[in-house]
Amino acid sequence: MSWQILVNGLVNAALIAPPAIALSLIFGVMRFPNFAIGGYITVGAFFAYAVNVDLGAPIWLAAIAAMIGTAVVVWLSDALVFRPMQGRGPVTLLVLSIALTLILEHIVRLFYGADVRGFDLPLQRPYRFGDIRITQEQIEIIVLAIAIAAITHLILQYTRTGKAVRATADNPMLAQVRGIDTGWIILLTWLYCGMLFGLTGVLAGLDLVIEPLVGWYLTIPIFAAAILGGIGSPYGAMLGALLVGLAEELTVLILPSTYKIGVGFVIIAILLLVRPQGLLGRPEIKK
């Protein structure tokens, strides 16, 4: 029983780790909390649904299409919504992002209604290890999350562009003075994160269900993970996702599972009181 909870917690963590990393990266270069992530994830899930179910393509092809499609939506949302309003302050951008997530969600509803759907996949028996059950999809989710964390790490630490992303997040004015085209770096960050949100939509569709609110259900745990780790720190986001993922499942031991959704809120509330910079974050330096 308890080992099963651990496995469920890991799957949960693996689902929220990539978007938490993406949220942190975007916060780093844009300096506002982007609540449109729920909309992006939903859009990703339905892109994949359209390609997999409506067009009959295999799920891996649908996942690639969803990543590209979502990256384009994310890029458009930056070009049409956030960029024109840059300089209006983080609160304005935050409110805009909430509006954007509602708009994206309702565009999806326009085409697909509010029904709960699933991908067209052959049913498979879960693997059994003693008492523990785990499905093929859950294993894939964990492997992909680890791969994404590793790839993100390699890009940020060892590529010129990745270092420029960190430099831009650290000190945008200095980055420009050193000749870095920060507009281009921010665009690349959006596109990379857009692909992660699209993939998250697909994985959520595999593990949970596909419906217009699927992104919204994940938004709070993703924010909790990013804030727990120290928003703006992608490594913190990985750690935060692991802790939030496990915490959500462990509460099932002591509380009815309907309270699971509240865990993220509780974590955010405690952190903002005790350690607002997060576990791996640094306090804001005020001059």
Partner: protein, 239 residues
């Protein structure tokens, strides 16, 4: 004489949107010289240097490097044309290591990066020792070396320095000016803005005195140092 200038700002008006801070300022730097702009706080020295670096757009007037007009170009484009600006504050990437900072310094010019890194390490041996330390964890003096080293990772045509001695201990200030001199001797023109007027003028060929957003006086550095009126107005407190 005028045609010799490698960097020239002419009749520049600029500010932060709510009216101009500098009004018709003209300064120039010629190849191989150190030029210092002095003046009291609020005279517009920083505004001038930020306008040259491309962080502010001149509302009127021109900025040119060689024969090319750069006024109004964004900062990355100005950097690509060989102007290396070292801001006064927040002039390192705190979360990046020393080595990564220097690598970002070479962003616009990847050729001979290793050779230049050796030069920077020769200039500041401590940066080689501490290359894996995050710049935010360094002392103020070492951070200033990183900031300087980053600018030296390209072969700049002009080095722009905003108060290079600010926040340094007296011994470090002396070292800093020695470094500026050393860099200049490699053939780089230096335009700096300084509160620490006497020491800055001592290593400079020429100087400008700014007051209330205008150039009040322009002369050879030696003459400015001997000018009674100037020393009473601007140099006195720092002797």
């Amino acid at each position: 004489m005028m045609a010799d200038a490698i960097l020239r700002a002419s009749g520049v008006y600029a500010g932060y949107g709510r009216g101009d801070i500098i009004h018709g300022v003209s300064v120039e730097a010629r190849p191989g010289e150190i030029v210092t702009v002095i003046g009291p706080n609020g005279a517009g020295k920083s505004t001038l240097i930020k306008t040259i670096a491309g962080l502010l757009s001149p509302r009127l007037g021109t900025v040119a490097i060689g024969d090319e007009e750069i006024g109004g170009l964004p900062a990355p484009a100005v950097a690509r044309r060989g102007i290396a600006f070292v801001p006064q504050e927040a002039n390192v990437f705190r979360q990046l290591t020393v080595a990564e900072n220097l690598e970002m310094g070479a962003w616009t010019d990847q050729d001979r990066k290793d050779e230049r890194l050796d030069k920077v390490h020769a200039l500041f041996p401590v940066l080689a020792e501490r290359r894996h330390v995050r710049a935010g964890n360094l002392s103020g003096g070492q951070r200033q070396m990183v900031a300087f080293g980053m600018a030296m990772m390209v072969e700049p045509r002009v080095l722009l320095l905003d108060e290079p001695s600010a926040g340094l201990s007296p011994t470090m200030v002396e070292q800093m000016f020695e470094i500026v001199k050393g860099v200049n001797q490699t053939g780089v023109a230096v335009l700096m803005v300084e509160q620490n007027a006497i020491q800055a003028l001592k290593i400079s060929r020429r100087g400008y005195v700014m007051a209330a957003g205008k150039v009040a006086l322009e002369d050879a550095a030696d003459n400015l140092l001997q000018n009674k009126e100037i020393s009473e107005l601007y140099l006195g407190s720092r002797v």
